[in-house]
């Protein structure tokens, strides 16, 4: 099992399950024989055997309390490396980046585990180190793109060398360790992932001309020295903590020169029109702007705010950040600093407000990053009911439900003024859409109904004539026939007839697709209806409260 995990061997679904399984249909996992043979050639198998023997010997020595033997054995503890497996599984660096999602999520999870039980302390420390290193890289390269506060944890998405890497970190609380989870499996995965992440980090740091293992920039280091000198005795420990404070920039191998930022020469690609070039240029500009979102702003984090994620995000977008000195090392300025522009607060009320800075809830930072612009601060003051936090990972296709907040946001990104008018327009649009939907639904029914109606009328007429009732001649009403309607009816009927002629398999497929579409529409309508109900309820409440106020 461990070997399969490390080598990335997964089972295969046989084509003929019954044939392979000797006639029974019980659920079993099948591996390709080729894969298993491939595993047997792995040199690490011998290492594993050695380790097993070592453990056996050690146990025996302990049992006999032969301490010298124990010492000797421990000295010769066999070790193994996974480098070649990493290289084998990810022959190119890009492959490795593509698979980084799980590695990062796992490392972040393991780095939050308590240092007791469950798994080795070294693993946890290593995970923490690698995670912090990666965060520092993201800060240095300013490659963070999206963040999302979910109920599960915080999602981050970064664009590392063109690859989108998404990872999730749990909220910093103690874990409720479940009993039905096999930690050995997770530990094996983590073992591989740490190796992978270490190499990836190394390469990433070198791609930015940074030192690896990371060193804090000399200047910043000097600033930090006096504050931490007393409290922390162990230099090695404090080093990691300083690094994880994420407040200082990293030392570079080559001093950063400003010449790097000279504009890239434009190489016109063949077959690319000027428009494409323009759009690409625009995108590039937008990206640059996004990267410098918080440039020049100075943040202060109150102590009730989760420090690490916020510090990470703000630094990623060029902002300066500090926190209370007693909270963590690495604080660069104090609350009383007059140059602070934003203070992130997560309590209902703030006493002693300092003039000249915004007091904001942490969601502002996240929403601003996702919106790629600094949102208006009014919605995010402490104690205010926050606007919904939307997922940046959803890109609405045509026909999907789009929450009104998102529409507003999109309008804002386009540069329109988010006035109340737009809101009304949105509502109107929605209503129109709803009406359209209903009409479409009704049309089909109506066409059928009309046919029937016609027939009935004719029948009635006939019966009347048959019975030879006293014939009355009444002025015929001019029936206005909607030509479009008729045409549509005809088309729909044609379509229905054509559907009848479909082959069985195609018909099945067609029906399935149509069913899926209808279900989607239904879900969208449901959401829209819910929203509408909610909005009306809110309005009524407002009205009531107004009335009460008037009374």
């Amino acid at each position: 099992r461990r070997l399969c995990i490390l080598k990335g061997i997964y089972p295969h679904e046989p084509k003929h399950k019954k044939k392979v399984n000797k006639g029974s249909t019980a659920a079993r996992t099948f591996y390709l024989l080729k894969d298993i043979k491939f595993l047997l050639h792995e040199p690490i198998v011998n290492k594993f055997r050695e380790y097993k023997v070592f453990v056996r010997k050690l146990r025996k020595a302990y049992g006999k309390s032969e301490w010298s033997t124990v010492d000797r054995l421990k000295d010769n503890k066999p070790s193994y490396k996974l480098d070649h497996i990493v290289k084998e599984r990810y022959p190119t660096f890009v492959d490795a980046l593509r698979d980084l999602d799980d590695a990062l999520s796992m490392c972040f999870l393991f780095s939050t585990f308590p240092r007791t039980g469950k798994c080795h302390v070294q693993t946890i420390q290593l995970c923490r180190r690698l995670a912090v290193e990666f965060l520092n890289y993201v800060i240095a390269s300013r490659s963070l793109r999206k963040v999302f506060l979910s109920i599960k944890g915080i999602y981050y998405q970064a664009e590392v060398l063109g690859q989108l890497v998404t990872w999730i970190t749990p909220y910093p609380f103690a874990h409720d360790h479940p009993t039905d989870v096999d930690y050995r499996v997770m530990a094996t995965f983590t073992e591989f992932y740490t190796t992978l992440l270490g190499f990836v980090n190394f390469r990433l740091y070198h791609s930015l001309n940074l030192l690896y293992p990371p060193k804090i920039d000399g200047q910043a280091d000097a600033e930090l020295k006096p504050t931490e000198g007393k409290e922390y005795a162990m230099d090695s420990e404090s080093y990691l903590e300083k690094l994880s404070a994420l407040s200082a920039s990293l030392a570079r191998v080559v001093a950063p020169t400003h010449e790097d930022e000279v504009e890239m020469d434009e190489f016109p690609v063949e077959g690319e029109t000027a428009e494409q070039m323009d759009t690409r240029k625009k995108e590039q500009e937008a990206l640059e702007k996004h990267k410098k979102l918080f440039e020049g702003l100075r943040f202060f984090l109150n102590r009730e705010v989760p420090r690490e994620p916020l510090a990470f995000i703000i630094r990623c977008f060029g902002g300066q950040v500090s926190w209370d000195k007693s909270l963590c090392i690495g604080a660069t300025y104090d609350v009383s600093d007059p140059s602070i522009t934003h203070q992130i607060v997560d309590r209902p009320r703030v006493e002693q407000q300092v003039v000249g800075r915004y007091y904001l809830q942490p969601q502002w930072v996240f929403d601003s990053v996702n919106a790629k612009l600094c949102l208006p601060v009014a919605d995010y003051f402490p104690g205010v009911l926050l606007p919904p936090h939307l997922s940046p990972f959803v890109t609405e296709q045509e026909g999907d439900y789009v929450p009104p907040e998102k529409l507003k946001l999109l309008a804002m990104q386009r540069g329109e003024n988010p006035d109340e008018e737009s809101e009304e327009e949105d509502e109107e649009e929605e209503e129109e859409e709803d009406n359209n939907d209903k009409e479409e639904e009704e049309e089909e029914d109506e066409s059928e109904k009309e046919d029937e109606m016609k027939l009935k009328k004719m029948e009635e007429q006939k019966t009347q004539s048959n019975k030879a009732l006293p014939v009355k001649v009444t002025a015929g009403k001019l029936r206005l026939e909607d030509r479009q309607r008729l045409e549509q009816e005809q088309q729909s009927e044609e379509k229905r007839l054509a559907i009848m002629m479909m082959k069985k398999r195609e018909k099945y497929l067609y029906k399935k697709i149509m069913f899926g579409k209808k279900r989607k529409v239904r879900e969208v309508n449901k959401l829209a209806a819910k929203r509408k109900a909610h909005d009306t309820a809110l309005k009524e409440e407002k009205k009531k409260s107004k009335k009460i106020r008037r009374a």
């Binding site: 799980d102 749990p170 874990h175 939307l390 027939l455 044609e494 002629m501 149509m514 819910k530 929203r531």
Partner: protein, 630 residues
């Protein structure tokens, strides 16, 4: 010797000793005394009834309070003397208790540090001190042996290569394993949607019913693996309790899930719809209901039309046969019969005006006396011109002349069968007709000749329940449909030519293209099979247009149209173009769905029929009406 009544005299006695010995003093805790004196009298404890206030006052007032301790053995307070206090102080400082003890006395060397010429002891050295030790030798030899055998290894030099280096420094495209091309990378985790937010838009929150439904679902079936929740601020968000679970499940997925590349069908559903010629281009075909023929009180089972297209005959379960004028929907004539009418057939020969009607065990040949008087007169004459042959042949049925009463109604001949007859059909020339008897023997199909009034049984063996039979319009072929097969017999050669596999469960009806090369078969499992006799014995196309069982199918004589009526109350008219060119396959296009019949007793349309010259279709329904669509 003084009685210990007063504390004063007892005081000198008390400090003599306590008399209980070295026992745990708690034993006397609850007693007023401690031990006994020589007389066996109790030695009382000193009275201690000080409360906290007294204690405090004493603490404040008594200068010797700090040196007063309680003697646990006697329970009395003792004031420590100066020496005793000194001793306590010394002990607290870790010094010796004795004042006069000097811990730093000058050291006296017993042996000088100078080397003397004489030894201190004159004992000769041990032998073992100059002989190599055997035990050590043994141990060394063991070690040597272990090293020789490779059991003990020298300590490995510390590996000083860095743990991380540039692994991808030399990316060599040739070193990529072949298997890597086959590798299916694991799909990434699904990215979260709006509903996972800690503060989602209100429409994403579950209502009470939805929450209940969510709880009742199996965990594997749930669309979301969490309940969307809203928190007012970030501070209120708790840890997600299933976080480790989810990571673990992801791990399990990564190493236990078989991976496969699945081809997703990514087609526009509109592209799946076959491109058919527009029905508008295939006109004429019946599109609207034109007339309703009312009069029958029960289901109308069968329809037939005169070759001229002027008269329509219908047989019903109300034991009548009605003759209608097609253009006016007027019932011209009603013929009451003895039982349920199963089948009617108008003689296709335009010079003969004769209708065959199946009623129970007999087939009535009726002259409806409609239309040209000359014509039906000639028919009567033709029937009367029959001369009884000299020698009577054995016949499977009886030919009986109708009685006078019946004659007046129009019935001319009665062909009496042994069992109930369920279908009758004419040959194209109008002399022969075939009848189907619901029987299990070889007598199921009989062929009758009207002019000679004799019948024959063409089959020697029964091949299953015969559903319907049909004459080929041009050639001497005879089609017999059993439950699942259609057999084609050559009447001249008297042999089986073909056996058509219908792929249906139960054939209900059958019709033949006027060209004679194509057959359609309707079946009770709502399929319609189109056979091309030149092509194969399997259906060229199996059309599943109807939702319910097909009851009747019909071809138009001139137009490339065919229609099918079904229990779902609809008649579907299809365009069925047959080309003279053998290489071109027939073109089948449904052109119209005709509705009108009301479902009664789960039955809809029972029979369909085309007008011989016009593109009109008749349908008879279980609601007792006949409808004409034009």
């Amino acid at each position: 010797p003084c009685p210990p009544l007063t504390p004063l005299p007892s005081a000198p006695l008390q400090d003599i000793r306590n008399t209980v010995g070295n026992i745990p003093m708690e034993w006397y805790q609850d007693f007023p005394h401690i031990g006994y004196n020589l007389e066996g009298k109790r030695i009382y404890k000193p009275i201690r009834n000080k409360d906290e206030l007294d204690m405090f006052l004493e603490k404040m007032e008594n200068p010797d309070y700090w040196r007063t301790v309680q003697d646990k053995m006697t329970g009395a307070d003792i004031k420590l003397t100066d020496e005793q206090v000194d001793l306590v102080h010394r002990l607290q400082k870790g010094q010796f208790g004795d004042v006069h003890f000097n811990p730093y006395e000058p050291a006296v060397d017993f042996f000088t540090h100078e080397v003397m010429i004489h030894p201190v002891t004159n004992r000769p050295a041990d032998k073992r001190s100059f002989i190599p030790s055997l035990i050590e030798k043994e141990k060394v030899s063991k070690l040597v042996h272990a090293i020789k055998m490779g059991w003990i290894k020298p300590r490995k030099p510390k590996d000083d290569t860095p743990t991380y280096y540039d692994l991808w420094a030399h990316e060599d495209p040739n070193s990529i394993l072949g298997r890597h091309k086959m590798h299916v990378p694991a799909p990434k985790m699904k990215l979260p949607g709006h509903e996972e937010s800690y503060n989602p838009p209100p429409e994403y929150l579950l209502s009470e019913e939805e929450k209940l439904a969510w709880e009742q679902q199996e965990p594997a079936e749930r669309k979301l693996n969490f309940v969307p929740q809203q928190y007012r601020c970030l501070r209120a968000v708790p840890a997600y309790s299933r976080f480790i679970h989810e990571r673990f499940e992801r791990c399990l997925d990564l190493y236990l899930c078989p991976r496969q590349r699945k081809m997703r069908v990514n087609v526009d559903p509109e592209d799946l719809i076959p491109k058919l010629p527009k029905p508008r281009d295939l006109q004429p075909f019946p599109t609207t209901q034109a007339l309703v023929y009312r009069g029958h009180t029960s289901l109308v089972r069968c329809l037939s039309i005169s070759p001229s297209g002027q008269w329509l005959v219908s047989g019903s379960d109300d034991c009548t046969v009605r003759f209608w004028e097609v253009c006016t929907a007027r019932c011209m004539k009603t013929l009451p019969v003895a039982g349920v009418v199963k089948s009617v057939a108008w003689n296709p020969n335009p010079t003969i005006c004769l209708v065959a009607i199946c009623v129970e065990q007999s087939v009535l040949l009726v002259n409806p006396c409609l239309g040209d008087k000359l014509l039906y007169g000639a028919t009567d004459q033709l029937l009367e011109s029959y001369v009884v042959p000299e020698e009577e042949r054995v016949q499977p049925v009886q030919w009986v002349m109708a009685t006078m009463e019946e004659q007046s109604k129009g019935v001319r001949l009665v062909v009496q069968h042994s069992k109930a007859v369920k279908q009758v059909t004419w040959h194209g020339k109008g002399d022969y007709f075939a009848s189907v008897v619901s029987d299990n023997s070889n007598m199921q199909v009989l062929i009758h000749q009207t002019s000679k009034r004799w019948s024959q049984n063409p089959f020697r063996k029964s091949k299953g329940l015969v559903q319907c039979v049909l004459f080929h319009p041009i050639r001497p072929y005879f089609f017999v449909a059993t439950q699942r097969f259609v057999r084609v017999y050559n009447l001249l050669k008297q042999e089986l030519t073909k056996k058509l596999m219908t792929n249906c469960k139960w054939v209900s009806s059958m019709a033949i293209h006027p060209g004679g090369d194509n057959i359609i078969c309707g079946s009770y499992d709502s399929k319609l099979a189109w056979f091309d006799l030149d092509l194969s014995t399997r259906p060229y196309q199996l059309l599943r247009h109807h939702k319910k069982a097909l009851r009747g199918v019909a071809f138009h004589k001139h137009y490339p149209l065919f229609a099918s009526g079904s229990d779902d109350g609809t008649v579907i008219v299809c365009h069925g173009m047959v080309y003279n060119d053998l290489l071109q396959n027939p073109l089948l296009v449904p052109v119209k769905v005709l509705k009108g019949h009301v479902l009664t007793l789960d039955l809809g349309v029972l029979d369909v029929l085309f007008h011989p010259t016009q593109p009109w279709v008749f349908s008879s329904g279980a609601d007792g009406t006949i409808r004409l669509y034009t």
